[in-house]
């Protein structure tokens, strides 16, 4: 078990990508979240998973839903850079959906909420023991849906309906359109559209997930994977044995773990500062630090 101040506790870290071309085709990077949940679903490790899909009525607006088949999971592939309240379905999944073993994908803050809910199940009667697999994703910050409209349509000058993929990487916000145009926005522009709540978050790589994954640290088309818990290790080992993923040691890929550590350190240091600033905000009426 590796213990790191910024990357949390993990048993192993690898670069990986799905061996299923169908999954890879629509995925953000290595198709880890989709691939792992699909494997768990097929093996009966989970009965269903809470993931985010695009709201059919509004382009690129994520909404949580409960996927109970691999086909439904494929709908959820890819990243939407906007808030999807996945935890809102955690109780309903065990109720009218009738799930006994729930999988869930979420950002670091959602993993914190999930674990807190498991520890203090107020309003979550009979839910904690039904969480079978929690896949966390890396997250620097998130955007409200209005911000995405602003960024894509006003700054990027592209119609949101026409966008096929959005990505944050190499210091830029990338917008790929159906018509083939690619727009890059410097991250300097996007900062003011971030959700302010994200500026107090002290977790970059989903320290509390069973398995956490993200693009940072590995080449395009690959993902960095942290296996953290016993449960995560178990599922990951089974998935590897079944040949769901191909992996490379993280030391052998560029830019490697150093970049993950660098970004995690940057996020956490920056957010610690904003926490301090919030504490001193105004005169004698500092804003609350959600961590204490």
């Amino acid at each position: 078990m590796v213990q790191d101040n910024f990357l949390g506790n993990y048993t192993s870290c690898v670069a990986a990508r799905s061996t299923n071309r169908g999954i890879l085709a629509g995925s953000q990077d290595g198709g880890i979240a989709t691939g792992l949940l699909a494997f768990a679903l097929e093996q009966g490790i989970i009965d269903g998973a809470i993931v985010s899909m695009v709201d059919p009525s509004e382009p690129w607006k994520p909404m949580p839903f409960v996927a109970t088949s691999p086909e439904e999971l494929y709908f959820a592939r890819g990243t939407r850079y906007s808030l999807s309240p996945n935890l809102a379905l955690i109780k309903e999944a065990t109720r009218s959906y009738g799930l006994d073993k729930v999988g869930i994908v979420g950002t670091p803050c959602q993993m914190q909420g999930l674990r807190k809910g498991q520890l203090y199940p107020i309003g979550l009667r009979d839910v904690p023991d039904k969480i079978a697999l929690a896949v966390g994703i890396f997250c620097m910050e998130n955007f409200p849906y209005q911000s995405i409209i602003q960024l894509v349509e006003d700054h990027g000058n592209t119609k949101l309906e026409n966008v096929v993929k959005m990505d944050i990487g190499k210091g830029k916000f990338w917008i790929y359109t159906e018509r083939g145009a690619v727009v890059q926005l410097p991250l300097k522009i996007t900062h003011k559209y971030e959700q302010p709540g994200c500026h107090v978050c002290l977790d970059y790589v989903s320290n509390l997930a069973d398995v956490s994954t993200g693009s940072v640290g590995t080449p395009d088309g690959w993902s960095t994977v942290f296996v953290r818990s016993k449960k995560g290790n178990d599922v990951w080992a089974k998935a590897m044995a079944a040949g769901c993923f191909e992996t490379k040691p993280i030391e052998e890929v560029k830019p490697g773990l150093d970049l993950v550590t660098k970004l995690a350190t940057e996020k956490i240091t920056k957010n610690r500062k904003s926490l301090e600033e919030r504490a001193k905000f105004g005169i004698g009426k500092g804003l609350r630090n959600p961590y204490i």
Binding site: D47, G48, T68, E92, T94, R95, S96, Y97, G98, L99, D100, R125, D126
Partner: protein
């Protein structure tokens, strides 16, 4: 010369109540008063002015044992007042929820009533918590039945305690096909367990009926053949679910209902003249203390056709199935006979349920202030809620809950029993006291009288 004995508080049931008993020299009850001493909840007053969506949620909070009955009765009382007709599939899911609650409640009551009973063929009372066989496997079966029923309630109602899914106009969500088959499988498992449990419980109760004596607090007491007999009538509105003023032929009539004050019904102030420190759980109230049932009772006395009536499993079976066994044991056996019915009904409803259908009415009128009522057959009997809704706000709300009906009836049934067995008679009603505390009292002209007893 009669003595006065008080058992306070009574134990092994929900809520807070006591028994004030006038007994003769042989220890036989001449007159018994069983009264609720749980403080008044005031739900009816809280409800006034709230939106119709809020009130069933508040009503549910009156007690955590049958919140499902209160939610469903309150929801349907609102629907009856507003004239909302719900889709068939919502109705089916509500019945599933109702039956799950009933099965759970019977199982829970088994644990409460078993300690009065004997292991057949022995003089050993049953302790449901002992690790020894045969009791341990029965206790496990009871807990499994409860688990099954609560899980079914959780899936169909969103939550087994204070269900979140029922709403005015139907339900918030239908269940998924997977959830439906999960409930079906659970009900099938529950059915087999419930049948075994029913047979076991009936054997235990029949054994008690055949016994000559029972031991209570070191005293050997003769069990009369007429334990718990009374001559009051029965009131039930449906074998399983309920009825409301929207029905073509409603099976309850508010015009036949009247409520009187405990002041006019219970005994006046008196002194306790005898005590038994060895009576289980701390002995009876010491000599010299005062009891004043008229003033202490925290519930009204509802009358149907001018008489107290019995509600509950026996009332349902007597009204709809021709069941006619009187007394406490007859009542207990009637309750066990509802075990399998609950699971059969769940299976039947799930078979008919369409999981893709809408469970919400297309149109929900906001109410014109007319009186609507709904009776729900809670595990303990008819739970009648009355409401007036106008423009989305509740103007009037009243709950007539099962144990309120049973208080005066059970008080009558105590006569002729040895005082030591008064609690056995009382437990036969599966009392759930906390929801039964109300103080909305009307006089002959149906005017609200000054609520002097509240102060």
């Amino acid at each position: 010369m009669s003595k006065v004995i008080e058992i306070s508080p009574t134990t092994r049931h929900e809520g807070h109540s006591k028994l004030v008993l006038k007994v003769d020299d042989q220890g036989i009850i001449e007159r018994g008063d069983w009264l609720s001493i749980t403080p008044v909840r005031g739900i009816e007053r809280l409800a006034v002015g709230k939106t119709y969506e809020q009130v069933p949620k508040i009503a549910s909070r009156v007690c955590g044992i049958c919140p499902i009955a209160h939610t469903l009765a309150a929801v349907e009382a609102m629907e009856a007042s507003m004239g909302v007709y719900i889709p068939d599939d919502a109705y089916l899911l509500r019945i599933v929820l109702q039956c799950a609650n009933r099965a759970h409640s019977i199982a829970l009551h088994n644990i409460l009533s078993l300690p009065d009973m004997y292991i057949p063929g022995t003089d050993v009372k049953i302790n449901p918590f002992t690790p020894e066989e045969p009791v341990r496997s029965v206790a496990k079966r009871i807990q499994r039945i409860r688990e099954i029923a609560q899980t079914i309630g959780e899936i169909s109602g969103g939550e087994c305690i204070h269900p979140s899914n029922p709403r005015i106009g139907g339900l918030y969500t239908n269940v998924s096909p997977r959830a439906k088959s999960k409930m079906f499988d659970l009900a099938k498992e529950g059915l087999a367990l419930a049948r075994d449990q029913m047979e076991f419980m009936i054997a235990v109760f029949r054994n008690y009926q055949k016994r000559d004596w029972s031991e209570v607090g070191g005293m050997q007491v003769e069990i009369p053949a007429t334990l718990g007999y009374h001559n009051q009538g029965y009131m039930a509105t449906d074998p399983v679910y309920g009825t409301s003023s929207l029905d073509e032929n409603p099976r309850w009539d508010p015009a036949r209902f009247n409520e009187t004050r405990p002041w006019d019904w219970y005994m006046g102030e008196m002194e306790i003249t005898d005590d038994y420190p060895n009576y289980p759980i701390g002995g009876t109230t010491p000599k010299g203390a005062k009891a004043w049932p008229q003033m202490e009772a925290c519930s009204g006395v509802p009358l149907y056709d001018g008489q107290p009536v019995e509600v509950g499993p026996r009332a349902r079976l007597a009204q709809f199935r021709g069941y006619d066994e009187k007394g406490t044991i007859g009542q207990q056996i009637a309750r066990q006979m509802e075990y399998t019915d609950s699971f059969y009904k769940i299976i039947e409803c799930l078979d008919a349920l369409n999981t893709s259908a809408s469970v919400l009415a297309d149109e929900i009128p906001q109410g014109d202030g007319s009186l609507g009522w709904a009776a729900n057959e809670a595990p303990r009997g008819s739970d009648v809620h009355l409401a007036r809704v106008k423009d989305g706000r509740v103007q009037y709300f009243s709950m007539l809950v099962p144990t309120t009906w049973n208080f005066p009836t059970c008080s009558r049934a105590l006569t002729g029993a040895p005082w030591q067995l008064a609690e056995v008679v009382m437990r036969g009603y599966d009392p759930c006291v906390s929801c039964a505390t109300h103080m909305i009292v009307v006089d002959e002209k149906n005017q609200l009288v000054a609520e002097k007893l509240i102060q």
